[in-house]
Amino acid sequence: MKYKIDFQTYSDALKTNRLLGLKCTSCGAVTCPPKMVCQECAGTEQETIELSGKGEIKTFTTTYIASLGRQVEVPYTVIMVALEEGPWISGNLNEMDPKKVTMDIIGRKVTLGHKVFPGDLYSSNEAARPVFSFC
């Protein structure tokens, strides 16, 4: 069985600031990032949709100790966002000095952009990743 949206397709769309997901024709749930089957009911009948890319910050961290090859990026802020359509996705936060980020950002509305992680010795490909800005 083929993926309806494989990672390459998701990543290519994200590079144009479009966030792809799947809407289940059985239960109506939205799965984003996409999977083989519906996140809620494991159904396989799903249609590709484009999400709004808007949501609300649920949690975050500002990282000071990075993985090999990523040390030049510190400090950086990783966030989890609850999208308007329901699912949560992970990404980074733009616009704010990572050192100044506190719990006050939880609940702030954000909108999607992207950056491309070029990959490293241990990754199979480059990967677009969500980078959010405050609305």
């Binding site: 949690t59 993985s67 990783v78 989890m80």
Partner: protein, 391 residues
Amino acid sequence: MRRVAVIGGGHTRFVTHSPNTSLELLAEASMDAIANSNISPKDIQAINCGNVLGEFTDGQGMIQSYLADDIGCNHVPATRFEGACATGTIAVRDAAIQVAAGVYDIMLVAGVEKATAMDTPLATRTFAMFSDSRYENPAGFTFPAVFAMLCHLYASHYDIPLETLKEQMAQVSVQSHYYGARNPNAQFQKELTVEKVLNGPMVTTPLQLMDCCPFTDGAAAVILASEEMARKLTDTPVWIAGTGQASSGHLASQSRYLPRIRARELSVKQAYKMAGIGPEDVDICELHDCFSIASIIAAESLGFAEFGKAGQLWETGETKIDGKIPINISGGLKSKGHPIGATGVSQVYEVSRQLRGDLADQGRQVDGAKVGLVDTLGGDGVIVNLVLKRD
């Protein structure tokens, strides 16, 4: 299904920068386990081996086969398990199932890691491999970052001021070091203070260095036997009375339940049900304290506190040796150390010794402990729980 017992174990000291190879550490712990189980290598019918990062740390794959050969368990089936930090417990659970099913009568389960053979950036990279490589790692996920996000989410979800939560988390680390200082196998045998925890360098907000377990080298091994064999070999068998295991996807996909870890609740429920007990029956628990906040979240999923309230267990000393639910009297991952392929086996070893009453000399014996719980988390997705019981 047959009853299965832990009949003995072995444990290297957990250290930073071991001079030995992973295979040597694994063989040392295994031979000690074999010797104190009153058997010889030829009695071992199969080996389950836990090792996660051997390719990175020693340039060694297929370590299980070399272990079998090095300790004279010639040509027995040897299988390697990988479940990130839960690897060792998965290997124990699988062996317990095989012995219970009658496939084997005596099995060796041994786990090892030599994480400090890697420098911190590489070690951080390899541990980040237990996040989703497509949807998490590109954003710069590290393992501490996952728990840091859970920590902020926990504070926000339960409306606990971050300062209050951080004080409770510091108590978790202080207690771990208190008992680790009394455990001759522990990596850090030195006590801590709350001030020292709260003044440590920031790893990833809000987690400071002393909220985080270390990278560790070390190995642990246990011998599992069928009831018939166990009765012949020891007067103090420790029964694997219940087991549970569950999986989950990347962190954001768990949003419906967070900061609760659904997989843990499912896993421990299986283990409690199989053992016919509840959380109130547990006398000693070794749980997966990879980060201070992880202990608090785990204690709630395991049923030792209401959701949002487990920090109070450490604050009030209920997790100490004479408290309501003694937790991580070994020093836990934080102070005893966390050689990931060995961690679960080490937890089983430690709880078995508590149930046999072996730890009085070290001042760490929970008096009259009869029922123990092991809890091991791999990444934020793989969970294994084991209930151990003595007669």
